[in-house]
Symmetry: C3
Subunit: 134 residues, 3 copies
């Protein structure tokens, strides 16, 4: 298994960050197999969605609605409402698996690999790409 | 890695479509390993749930409740409320991985592999099955 | 592929049960590859979250809020509101994949592998660990 960690700048606000290009770079020259994407963080997830047409912002809004950043959470470290960031990975998992054919992602036309980071307290995040040859 | 794309008829209404039989057919004659199920679409997901006892309809109702098809979404192409279909894959991921032993799915008694398609604008969908020998 | 089923005691109340140690035990002596965690049950999921700081209870509360155990569900076997337990695996999938390096989980500092069992009607659950060498 080939495995590599990259660092992604996520800034100080909640963000859906497209990391498809970074994944393609990692896969260049590889064959058929499975790409495993993993974020080694307890307050971030990986989503496969369309970007650039509003859905990235729609996802952040949906998360604000479904997991509000208010005082309901028992986990109280960090910024107010931060407890909800710790629940997010149960719904938006910190991993994804994607088919790779001839070193290229077999994604649909409108699919992108996205790092979902609701947590503005960390300005950079790590992402681990692993390739399992099939 | 053996990989194959099939086409599933989903019709013109939101649907939870059991694709377990199609997966079993793909796996016939294979050994131990991992089945990877992938839908190359930005408005569909894969869920492992029970079918035939109401839970498939319950899932569609829950999705209507959690991600309402109204005018809140920034993504505004297609049918009214369609923006929510683009957020769905963040919560119901477009992939799943399942253990395979001796060419057979090691599912629990009540588990089925389901294509979740809230989007009535597409009457057919593609599903990619891949088998990673272990 | 090496694959093994263990039994986890979950008791008679909804629970988020940390199974990281059990996974580590399974992986001892193995090399690089992917850990696949799978629960062969239609009313449980696997989540990668922090435990011991309130987030495990926060997750159960969020599930009560998002998928209420009331009479809205068509699936009506078992305890009142049990239908929602059957919808849960669409959102908290019954599988997870995690990178393994030198027989050790490459988790982040605050990440744990958790069995999410909202269903108090079953006091034990099975978990299948599989290791795909890379």
């Amino acid at each position: 298994m080939q495995s590599e960690v990259i660092t992604i700048r996520t800034g100080s606000r909640p963000v859906v960050r497209d990391i498809t290009h970074e994944a393609e770079r990692f896969l260049a020259g590889k064959g058929d197999g499975l790409l495993h994407v993993f974020v080694p963080h307890a307050t971030a997830g990986v989503a496969i969605i369309e970007t650039g047409a509003g859905s990235d912002d729609d996802l952040l809004t949906a998360l604000d609605d479904l997991l509000p950043a208010d005082d309901r959470w028992r986990h109280r470290h960090g910024s107010p409402g931060h407890g909800r960031d710790h629940v997010l990975p149960a719904f938006v998992a910190p991993y994804a698996t994607l088919p790779v054919l001839g070193g290229r992602l077999a994604l649909g036309t409108w699919q992108s690999i996205c790092l979902v980071d609701p947590n503005g307290d960390n300005s950079t995040r790590q992402v681990r790409f692993s390739f399992l040859p099939g």
